[in-house]
């Protein structure tokens, strides 16, 4: 392909076209920046589903603005025929693909994330052992804050190959589990009913959701798991603290002895 043919694919770039491209770029940037400022502020004043909806709008707006700006700008630069489009975008795609493979792959995964919704702002997710709340979904990476207030940037690229665990999946329901390890000599039904009441009387508990207690006999005693949902996912750690503190007091008053686990038995048990 000679130079004349290549130049023939493009339109003549006049100053008016340059200004139009500049204006489109500026307006798109303004809209995205405004949405990134206004929507988190609004979400800070809301709770539950409304908060999560406001947060979920941020990446959606950005992708929509990006698509509109792209569709607007490309015909200004390229002669809009199928042949031209395929030639230029194909060549550009090949070049970018080789040079910025991971970056582009992350951006593509970011687009897929907006459509598939494996995580949204406000969700509590775990990726490769790191757990936290999604604060921001960028073009290339997702920004997460751990319970210890550490910001973690995870490239969207992980979406292709890694398991993403989402604890609340866009809704306000997030199950919390409080563990109790008891000496085997006790009435399991009494303990089960008591722990259900511990859940029911927590001010954090979401009463529209089930409260479940499961027990498993272990060589060292009985392992109880009290499962319930807080009203707001952000309350999960206070909720578990409340369940543990009051649960311990009630069990001690019953009275039930707590199991004394040796270090080899204290290893993390699998969920059930």
């Amino acid at each position: 392909m000679d130079t004349e043919k290549i130049l023939g694919l493009f339109k003549e770039i006049t100053s008016a076209v340059l200004i139009e491209i500049g204006v489109v770029f500026a307006v798109a940037t303004l809209i995205v920046l405004a949405s990134q400022r206004v929507l988190p502020w609004l979400a800070g004043h809301l709770h539950g589903k409304q908060r999560l909806f406001a947060l979920a709008l941020i990446p959606t707006i950005r992708v929509l603005v990006f698509i509109v700006a792209f569709v607007w700008v490309v015909p200004l630069v390229i002669e809009p025929s199928m042949q031209n489009m395929v030639a230029i975008l194909g060549a550009a795609g090949l070049a970018i693909g080789f040079a910025l493979k991971d970056y582009i792959s992350s951006m593509a995964a970011g687009m897929v994330a907006v459509y598939e919704l494996p995580y949204r702002p406000g969700d509590w997710i775990e990726v490769e052992g790191t757990y936290g709340e999604v604060k921001h979904i960028g073009m290339r990476a997702v920004e997460m804050v751990t319970p210890d207030d550490t910001v973690v940037f995870i490239p969207h690229l992980k979406l292709w190959t890694k398991l993403i665990f989402n604890a609340n999946n866009g809704g306000p329901s997030l199950m919390c589990v409080a563990d109790f390890y008891l000496h085997p000599e006790h009435d399991a039904n009494v303990v089960k009913h008591l722990l259900e009441d511990v859940g029911l009387t927590s001010p954090y508990v979401q009463l529209s959701k089930p409260i479940v207690v499961v027990a498993k006999e272990e060589p060292w005693g009985t392992h109880y798991r009290l499962k319930a949902y807080p009203i707001d996912p952000r309350q999960q750690f206070q909720f578990m603290t409340d369940l543990t503190a009051r649960g311990k007091n009630c069990l001690r008053a019953l009275p039930v002895k707590f199991a004394q686990l040796s270090p080899e038995h204290a290893a993390q048990a699998g969920p059930y």
Binding site: L46, H47, D197, V198, L207, I231, D232, Q235, Q238
Partner: protein, 325 residues
């Protein structure tokens, strides 16, 4: 009398809240939006502003007559439940009805009896053939130790072991009961939502449209409607607003007060052990300064009637388990 009486006692499942006219709905949405944007501007609380006009008490006689119209006096079931929204006055109405019909008003159990779920000791002190429990909210506390009494008492009431009676249950307690004791209670009644005619009878003089708006704003609750009307009539007053510092702890306190129809400080501490005593005091005093709650002569903290709509909205926005009214 029967034709002109706008009070109606109805089965609970037929209750309908008055719908707000479109303009009122838009006004409410606008007011919520404004609250969102001006929430940061907290009022400097002026203690004088707590002096709200005392809203006019309504006449109990037509409400009592409505009970007799609805219920067959000859063959009453063993127990009937009346679900009462806060400030709707159902407790006072049924106390009056009980006096006229020879029903004995039962005293709530002591804290010790609640803890031991000792329904026998409580009943034997005051056994009677016909009785009224005018405030079922006093028959439990939201702690693991103080819910067993309620669970022991309800089956006895339903089996007819304690004779014939009427139980007035606060709507917030009733909503919680659905979760804590998931059996549908039979013979549940409530007063129908306030209509413009009932508001007129209760002394609110305004156009039909304004009365409909008022009834919708108060969610059909006559007591709340009268309070809102009293504030509307006084240009120098405005409804109390929750402090901008209101957080999860504030919500827990307000929810607990609604759940138990008011609580003493020490009981509130039992229900919310996660809050330190000084933290609880700060929250209570701040809410009192903002006119959200009051401390009555029995040292019981209660939600102020003027603040009730705002408190309900606040809890609804945070996803709390609400009453059905």
């Amino acid at each position: 009398m029967a034709e002109s009486n706008h009070w109606q006692l109805i089965p609970l499942d037929t209750f309908e809240r008055p719908s707000a006219p479109a303009t009122t709905a838009i006004q409410q949405a606008w007011s919520q939006l404004r609250k969102l944007f001006i929430a940061e501007e907290d009022d400097d609380v002026n203690p004088d502003e707590q002096d709200f006009p005392h809203y006019r008490e309504f006449d109990l006689a037509p409400a009592v007559a409505a009970i007799d119209t609805c219920w067959d006096a000859d063959e009453p079931p063993s127990v009937r439940f009346v679900i009462s929204a806060p400030f709707s006055g159902s407790g006072a109405i049924f106390r009056e009805w009980a006096k006229q019909n020879g029903y004995q008003q039962l005293e709530p159990p002591s804290l010790e009896q609640l803890g031991q779920a000792d329904t026998d000791a409580w009943w034997q002190q005051q056994a009677s053939e016909r009785w009224l429990i005018d405030e079922f909210s006093s028959f439990w506390l939201r702690t693991t130790e103080h819910m067993q009494f309620m669970r022991a008492l309800l089956p006895r009431l339903l089996r007819g072991e304690l004779g014939t009676g009427v139980v007035v249950i606060d709507s917030w307690t009733f909503a919680f009961l659905h979760r804590a004791w998931p059996l549908s209670l039979p013979h549940c009644y409530c007063f129908a939502a306030a209509t413009p005619e009932l508001l007129k009878d209760s002394g609110v003089i305004a156009s039909d449209k304004r009365l409909r708006n008022l009834a919708a704003k108060a969610r059909g609750n006559l007591g709340v409607a009268l309070a809102l009307w009293a504030v509307e009539q006084d240009e120098e007053r405005s409804l109390p607003r929750l402090p901008s510092e209101a957080d999860d702890s504030t919500a827990f306190i307000l929810y607990s007060l609604l759940l138990h129809h008011g609580l003493k400080g020490e009981y509130l501490q039992m229900v919310l052990p996660l809050m330190a005593a000084n933290q609880l005091d700060v929250q209570l005093l701040r809410l009192q300064q903002n006119g959200i709650i009051d401390l009555d002569e029995n040292k019981v903290w209660r939600i102020n009637v003027y603040a009730y709509p705002d408190v309900r909205e606040f809890l609804a926005a945070r996803g709390f388990w609400l009453d059905g009214f």
